[in-house]
Symmetry: C2
Amino acid sequence: MREVAIIGAGMIPFGRREQDELMDMLATASLIALDDAGLGDTSVDAVHVANVGGGMLQHQSAIASSLTDRLSLLPAAAETIENGPASGASAVKAGFLAVASGYYDKVLVVGGEKMHDISAPRATDFVAAMTHPQAEYPYGITMAGLGGMFARLYMEKYKITPLHLHAVSVKNHEMGALNPYAHIKSPIVPESVFEGDFAEINNPIVADPLRLYDLCPVSDGAAAVVLSTVEVAKRSGRPYAVVAGFGQATDTHTLAQREDPVELKAVTLAARAAFDMANLTPSDIHVAELHDAFTILEIAISEHVGFFKKGEGGEAALDGKTCLGGQIPINVSGGLKARGHPLGATGVAQVAEIVWQLRHELPPERQVQNAEVGLTINLGGFANNVLCFILKRVQP
Amino acid sequence: MREVAIIGAGMIPFGRREQDELMDMLATASLIALDDAGLGDTSVDAVHVANVGGGMLQHQSAIASSLTDRLSLLPAAAETIENGPASGASAVKAGFLAVASGYYDKVLVVGGEKMHDISAPRATDFVAAMTHPQAEYPYGITMAGLGGMFARLYMEKYKITPLHLHAVSVKNHEMGALNPYAHIKSPIVPESVFEGDFAEINNPIVADPLRLYDLCPVSDGAAAVVLSTVEVAKRSGRPYAVVAGFGQATDTHTLAQREDPVELKAVTLAARAAFDMANLTPSDIHVAELHDAFTILEIAISEHVGFFKKGEGGEAALDGKTCLGGQIPINVSGGLKARGHPLGATGVAQVAEIVWQLRHELPPERQVQNAEVGLTINLGGFANNVLCFILKRVQP
């Protein structure tokens, strides 16, 4: 396998982007990433677009071809890749394999989603369309509903309290406020948490035991990265990232069918495959982007990846071990919780954030000092299709 | 690049499959291909699903994860790939690069579409959603409308007559009648062609100058192939196909923007790349599956690929040069015209047909004698994203 570098990253601020079409967002993020890659007038060989709702929400297919034309990248190959909320990582993976194969030298990967075209109930339904078509969707379950049930079981089994969950949301809101690309930029007022009128108004229950601050928002947004051979990367003369490890695994499509519903088997398998390929262990990771669609997921994933023992992730969050400057800084970007979660964009945004961290170019209040190795975990469905990347800094 | 083999192929009959869900069709075609691949109890490493309408028509995302679970292929990686009517070839390409990269050894690729859930006008609209979102779709253009305009220009420039188009549909209907997987199994009655009441009833104008017999039908269906390393392929002891060449190219998303609207530049570029990789020329091809969504396209593509000079493809069809036993048999399967065109399935079905031809296992009335090398051309949009595969027979 040929080594693959990530030589460019770009993003547009996530949030309510009512003025933008989906194609506008994809094009803008792409241009920023291409500019960052410093390829000059040379083109890319292929374009991979991560998107879920083009057909369902924008009534538009063949987005990748249309985008490639709009970006004047013809005759580059182009495809759209869909894998629910892990579409972004799946598109990065497609780019990774395309360059690793030797067939393509330079690939643009861009993910985006436009979710504010529709009402909140329709957005919830749109997201729920990734659940099992016979065993889940017809019964009205939503992703938040599954998250609530998962949270209750996990909290009971591992003695996690709402205080642990709250530590995650406080951290991610705090970091989001420092990230110019974040959807939510307001730190959480501590009083707003659990009880009394103030909590009822500011942090009401959404899917018991999950409250408002435990869930990611519905966001519009786009993010892009440019992958290339190491030869191309070296030409820039500046630091870049390489894909040191990659892993992916699927699990039962329904949460109910799992032997132990709080066991995120696909996270364990995907991370293990990535660590094996990179020849690294969890303690080698300096910064991580984990799929915190719900606060409980950041805790659960941090344990399944191997940063903490089972049942210790909540306490670790409360102790500040996952903060900037802590043992393993998690979601320094604000995560899905605060940066936002435009489905197709998320997995690409995670990789972009790690690339910036490894290039040491973020402002001090967001930069993990001397970060050399970073990890991402992007979940499709309710952890039924999980992708893990391990990226390593290279100083040419 | 590691050489990639195709060791299994499966299909279900295309047509009106009112009793089947999309997932049923995908699962059945997959199981047939997996069985054909003879992998026994060993699993595949990844699953690529080609589909366009899951979100728009079935209100379902994350189809690939769901299918992987249903087929008991967990924890195999899984993604859905969309590229309009070229989704099938794009998914095969993803599988090809995945194996070529060295990361995966065995990949299942399955494409399918369920288009009869909806009325004919809605099906037409669904297909039109691949046109340009600002420059084409809002003005009400359909793919048949674009096909009509393209046909008129092509016929004028290259002196193609309705008789030439008719030769293509007569051939493809004839072959479709011999293909158990074909949607349309009725040979065309010669009298039904151009003029008089009989023609008005049996072959009316759809998009002038294209008549009913010039257009592919709206079909449900699914097709699958299994890709692997050559090491895995050899173990079966029987003939298999290898990907000798692959090429892909995009062109302006709108037909109107092309310098010469009858120039299918992306077909030329994709085919050239595939021939270069395979180190072959058009005269080396023994059998071809070309994207005849409209009869005029079979003629135009046969010229752009290099089987015939510009302006000679129509006469070649009329002279029987593209029939079974002719100079270059094209669409012996019945093509999109008669086998049908369930969008996501088509590109995979083309590859499956070539695999069968190269294994010499079709009944004599459909088998191209001694076929050693086959070619496929799958078009996305109106030839704005074209993929070409060249497959070669290997007798271990």
